[in-house]
Structures are given as structure tokens and as C-alpha cells.
């Protein structure tokens, strides 16, 4: 208790210096937390993917499609529970600024495979019944002020023209990590239009989604599907949903790596600042450490006081930084939800904040503690007066 009292009073002996150090650490922790959350948001799609779902695409490239007729053959592969298909639509709402992920899907099978999208039974059946029907995620609907029953027109970028839809449902995410920024409509609606306008693009799909009976069968089923279409005009490449998502992330990996590096550079900088503060503090108190040593206090008492003070300042900065991270991240998420539909501070980020703060405290105290422990009492006493 006495030691804690001494640590606290020592830490705030120079109030301005202590407050500036705490503020510096808090800003570093806030920056680190936000940058880590940006990286997490980047991986949100991969993290939200299910181990039971596979994705089959054209082996040459995702740009090329697959015949929708593959569905029945895939369905017969041992271990397959369900098959659905989807096309990336790439539409924009009113202007190009309002871009969001939009997919033409086969509604009944697709929604069955994504239990994380919660849609009421009535809205599901309304959507399935209406061939021009669509569903949107809660955040997307809120962003554009859509209500169920509204008419929504998208401008196609891959499939040119104006596409009119009737909003039949708004889904909610089962978890906080579920993307509520997507837009789905009937693949048949897209296909019928293509049959009329560009028949050579009809009866094709971008991907097949395959639900396997058990996650353990994923590799075996993927091999079986790819074997089925080997040497055909459109060979398939089947992989887990997670691997599929990570393919997209790998395209921007350099950015993710840069963000990660910057987040740790921030910590290294604050480590140097905190170490400087502690070095100044300890240098001013060498005389006091000599007095304590003369009374019989050992090296571990002196080192403990310096490390304790350093860790205390770092933890106070950490607490303030974590406290600030939540409102700042919320504001960040509100501004950028178009790009980061899932922007959540992960628990692991908070643990890492705490660990790094402890590390900052310990490293900052290392050199001053080493010097204070080594100083001879007689030399320390000469510094007084």
C-alpha cells in the first residue's frame, strides 16, 4: 500500500510531464487500436466465412463464368449437401459514389446456406415470389433510407442498363461481424434480361456455392468437383470460402502490411518518448535513490520503484487510449461503413493494447533502472545540494 502510494505520488510529481506522457501513450494506443481494427475490417469477410462452404469458380479467372448447368452435376458429388450460385452484379445506386456489393443469386438455396443473414419468413417468401424482388442489409438500407416496399433502381456497370427492383426484405446480421451492407436479387431476373439482350452471356454464373455435409469433407469434395470438370471448356477451381475471400485480400496485401508496420512504428516511437521521460525522472532522483540505498533498500526496491512508476504511467495511458478507441472507432465506422461494413474492435486488439503498454512501461524503465541500481551511494549523495 505504502509502495503504491509512493509510486502514484512519484508519477505525478511533475504533473505536466506525467500528463503529457500519459496523453502520448493514449494517442499511440488509440492509433494502434484503430489501425489494427482497419486490418481486422479488411479480413472481416474471411473471418465471417464458414468452414462448411466451398466456392467454385472458373479455373482461368473469376472474370470468366461457368455454365449454370454445372449445378446438377455438382449436387451429385459425394459429401455435397446443397448447391447455390451467384453473379457479381457491380451495380451503383444513382451515382458511382453509392457503390456497394450487389449479387444476383438463386434465392431459396442461397439464403438457406447463409443462416447468418436473418430475414423474417414473410420477407423471405415475398422475396422468393417476386422475380424483381431484392433484399438489402440493414446498414445499406439505413444508409440510403430504404424501406420494405420501396422501388430501388441500380445502374449496371458489368451488365449495362437500369435495373429496377422491389425491396422485399431487409436482413440483419446474426453476429456483429456479419456484413449488413450487401444487396441481393434474383439471378433469374438477370438471366432473363441477358437472354433478351445478350444471349451469349445467358445461362452463366460467376460462382457456385457448395455446402458440404461436414467441414472435414471440404478438401475431398473440392477435389471431386474440380475432377468432374477437368478437360472441359470451363474447368473449375474449388476452394473454401475463406480461401476465396483471402484471394481478394492478397491483392491488397501490401497495404495491409504497411498499415501493420505503421501501427507498430507508433508503439516504438512512444516507447522512446516514455523512455526519455523515465530517464529524466530517474536522473533527477539519483540522490533519493542513494538515500534509500543508504537506509538499506536493495536494488530490487529501487528498480521496482522505477519500473512501477513507468508501468503505472503506461497503464494509465493505455486505459485512456482504450477508452478513446471505442468512440473514435464508432465515428470512423459511421464515416466509412461503405468501405468497411464490419468495423469492430476485436478483443485481441484490446489485449494487445494492454500487452504493448506493459512492454512500453518495462522498456522505458529499463535503462533508468539499470543506471539507478548501479549508482554508488557516495556518488548519488554527491549529486544532492
Amino acid at each position: 500500500m505504502f509502495i503504491l502510494k509512493l509510486l502514484t505520488r512519484n508519477a505525478f510529481r511533475h504533473k505536466l510531464r506525467a500528463l503529457l506522457t500519459i496523453t502520448g501513450i493514449a494517442i499511440a494506443i488509440l492509433s494502434f487500436g484503430l489501425l489494427r481494427t482497419v486490418v481486422s475490417a479488411w479480413y472481416a469477410g474471411a473471418h465471417a466465412s464458414s468452414g462448411n462452404r466451398l466456392i467454385s469458380r472458373n479455373a482461368i479467372s473469376l472474370v470468366f463464368s461457368l455454365p449454370v448447368s454445372y449445378k446438377d452435376r455438382i449436387r451429385q458429388v459425394e459429401g455435397v449437401k446443397n448447391v447455390s450460385y451467384a453473379n457479381w452484379f457491380g451495380g451503383v445506386y444513382i451515382t458511382e459514389k453509392n457503390f456497394f456489393p450487389s449479387f444476383a443469386i438463386e434465392p431459396a438455396t442461397y439464403l438457406g446456406m447463409y443462416p447468418e443473414f436473418i430475414l423474417s419468413d414473410s420477407q423471405t417468401s415475398d422475396f422468393i415470389r417476386d422475380r424483381k424482388g431484392c433484399v438489402a442489409g440493414r446498414k445499406l438500407a439505413e444508409r440510403h433510407g430504404w424501406k420494405v416496399g420501396d422501388s430501388v433502381t441500380l445502374k449496371g456497370t458489368i451488365f449495362p442498363g437500369s435495373w429496377e427492383f422491389n425491396l422485399r426484405g431487409i436482413y440483419q446480421g446474426k453476429k456483429q461481424t456479419t456484413d449488413e451492407g450487401q444487396f441481393f436479387f434474383h439471378w433469374n431476373y438477370l438471366n432473363e434480361t441477358l437472354r433478351k439482350n445478350t444471349p451469349r452471356r445467358a445461362d452463366q454464373t460467376g460462382i457456385f456455392l457448395i455446402e458440404v455435409k461436414h467441414a472435414n469433407l471440404s478438401s475431398q469434395v473440392a477435389q471431386a468437383i474440380d475432377g468432374l470438370f477437368k478437360n472441359s471448356l470451363a474447368e473449375t477451381l474449388t476452394e473454401t470460402e475463406k480461401a476465396f475471400q483471402l484471394t481478394f485480400i492478397s491483392m491488397t496485401e501490401a497495404i495491409v502490411v504497411a498499415i501493420r508496420i505503421v501501427s507498430y512504428v507508433v508503439i516504438v516511437i512512444i516507447m522512446a518518448v516514455a523512455a526519455n521521460t523515465m530517464a529524466m525522472t530517474a536522473r533527477e532522483r539519483f540522490g533519493e535513490y542513494a538515500i534509500l540505498k543508504s537506509m538499506g533498500f536493495g536494488w530490487f526496491h529501487i528498480a521496482g520503484m522505477i519500473f512501477g512508476e513507468s508501468v503505472l504511467l503506461a497503464l494509465l495511458g493505455c486505459a485512456l487510449g482504450i477508452g478513446l478507441t471505442f468512440p473514435v472507432a464508432a465515428a470512423f465506422a459511421a464515416q466509412l461503413d461503405q468501405f468497411f461494413p464490419v468495423f469492430l474492435i476485436e478483443r485481441s486488439t484490446l489485449w494487445l493494447d494492454l500487452f504493448l503498454s506493459l512492454l512500453v512501461g518495462l522498456v522505458a524503465g529499463l535503462f533508468p533502472a539499470w543506471r539507478a541500481v548501479r549508482i554508488r551511494i557516495a556518488d548519488g549523495l554527491r549529486r544532492i545540494g
Binding site: 505504502f2 509502495i3 502510494k5 509512493l6 505520488r9 512519484n10 510529481r13 540522490g287 533519493e288 538515500i291 534509500l292 540505498k293 543508504s294 537506509m295 538499506g296 533498500f297 536493495g298 554508488r376 551511494i377 557516495a378 549523495l381 544532492i384 545540494g385
Partner: protein
């Protein structure tokens, strides 16, 4: 002197300045009896503070021996020496050297944190020590709220709180006005006379030296009788 408390034999100490060795104490031999009030005087650089530091176990000699309570200090490890200091030596410095963020009570309590005393026992000891120096009413004050003389009295209370047998005082009146200096010297005399503390004091002050039962002069690292 039969069975002295402090026995110093052929003590040599020098400091290194660059590549040079500067001798500070040369072949000092000295006995100090229990209950003595010994004053060391001498010009600056004569080695009196160095001798005091060696007796107090906060510095080590190049050669020779210091035996206190039949313990040869040169044979003790750093940690054993620290423990020995905690129980046998009380320090009084020129600039009081109190911890500024602690109250008078807490400053006096500091040495007792190294003992196995309960909080209640510590409180009793601290209150007794502060009563001896006449500062019972200022125990919750921080050093900055006390005069120089009061701060030195707190330092003396801190030095005696663990009931050491020897008090070493390095210019204890050097930073005080005349009245405060007299009070401090009276207090040290009282501790020597009434409580039987052995006091070894370094001073430049001739008035302080008058309080001594024995006065020794050091010049250029040699005792001048």
C-alpha cells in the same frame, strides 16, 4: 580503549580521476567507543566525509579493515551490507534528503518498511521518534511545508526510528541558521547522552565541534592528533 564499538585498522582509500589515482585516506587507524560523540574536522578534501561513508558502510576501502560490533564490513556482500546498515546505522545529511512527496510521518516510516513490523507497530515507533525530535504536531506535513530546522529534525527522527546504535551526521548544521543549528546540536547531544547513541559527526562548524566528547582532525587523508 577496551573492546571498542568501531575498530579501524590501516584504512586506505583513493579515487580514480581519469588515469590517475588520487589518495584520500592514508593508513587510518582509529577506535571509537560505544556511546561516544566523535567529531571529525578538517579542510575540504581532507577525507572526513569519505571516512564517515566508510564507517557507515556506504563506500568500500582499498585496503585495511573496519570492524563494527565484531563484524568486518569488508567481508559483507552488498545485500548483507545493506541489511547491516538498515539495523545499525542512522544517517543525518546536510541537506536533510527527505522524500518530497511523502509527509514527515511517511519519511520517518521509510526505514521500518524493511522490517517485519506490523503497521500498528510502525505507527508507534514513528510517533515516538517524532516525539523525541518534538515534531508530533507536524507529522502530516510535507517537507516543503517545514522549515530547514524542522526538516533536519524529521531527518533525525528517520535516522533513529529503527533504533540504530550509531548515528553518522555529515555537516548536519551546514544548511541551517544559527538558532536551528543550536536546536539540532542540542538534539544530537540529547540522543547521545540520554539514549546512548554513538554519534560520529563531520563538521566545519567550531560551535558544533564544541559539543563533541572527542575531536579529531583530518588533513590530507591523515589523522592529526
Amino acid at each position: 580503549m577496551s573492546n571498542p564499538l568501531v575498530s579501524i585498522r590501516h584504512l586506505v582509500k583513493s579515487y580514480r580521476r581519469g588515469n590517475q589515482s588520487v589518495p584520500v585516506l592514508e593508513d587510518i587507524s582509529l577506535d571509537i567507543a560505544e556511546g561516544e560523540f566523535l567529531v571529525l574536522m578538517g579542510p575540504s578534501g581532507s577525507g572526513k566525509s569519505t571516512l564517515l561513508n566508510l564507517i557507515a558502510g556506504i563506500d568500500t576501502a582499498d585496503s585495511g579493515s573496519i570492524t563494527i560490533h565484531d563484524v568486518d564490513l569488508s567481508l559483507l556482500s552488498d545485500s548483507a551490507l545493506a541489511a547491516w546498515r538498515a539495523s545499525h546505522i542512522g544517517f543525518v545529511f546536510q541537506f536533510y534528503n527527505l522524500i518530497p512527496v511523502l509527509t514527515a510521518f511517511e519519511n520517518v516510516e521509510l526505514p521500518l518498511l524493511l522490517t517485519s513490523m506490523s503497521r500498528h507497530q510502525r505507527r508507534e515507533h514513528v510517533e515516538t521518534a517524532l516525539a523525541v525530535v518534538g515534531l508530533t504536531d507536524r507529522m502530516e506535513h510535507r517537507p516543503s511545508e517545514l522549515s530547514g530546522g524542522q526538516q533536519q529534525r524529521v531527518a533525525i527522527a528517520r535516522a533513529i526510528v529503527s533504533d540504530p546504535s550509531i548515528l553518522v551526521a555529515d555537516e548536519p548544521t551546514g544548511d541551517l541558521d544559527r538558532v536551528s543549528a543550536e536546536e539540532i546540536l542540542n538534539l544530537l547531544e540529547q540522543l547521545n547522552r540520554e539514549f546512548g547513541k554513538t554519534i560520529i559527526m563531520v563538521t566545519h562548524d567550531p560551535r558544533a565541534a564544541k559539543r563533541a566528547r572527542r575531536l579529531l582532525h583530518l588533513e590530507k587523508g591523515v589523522l592529526v592528533l
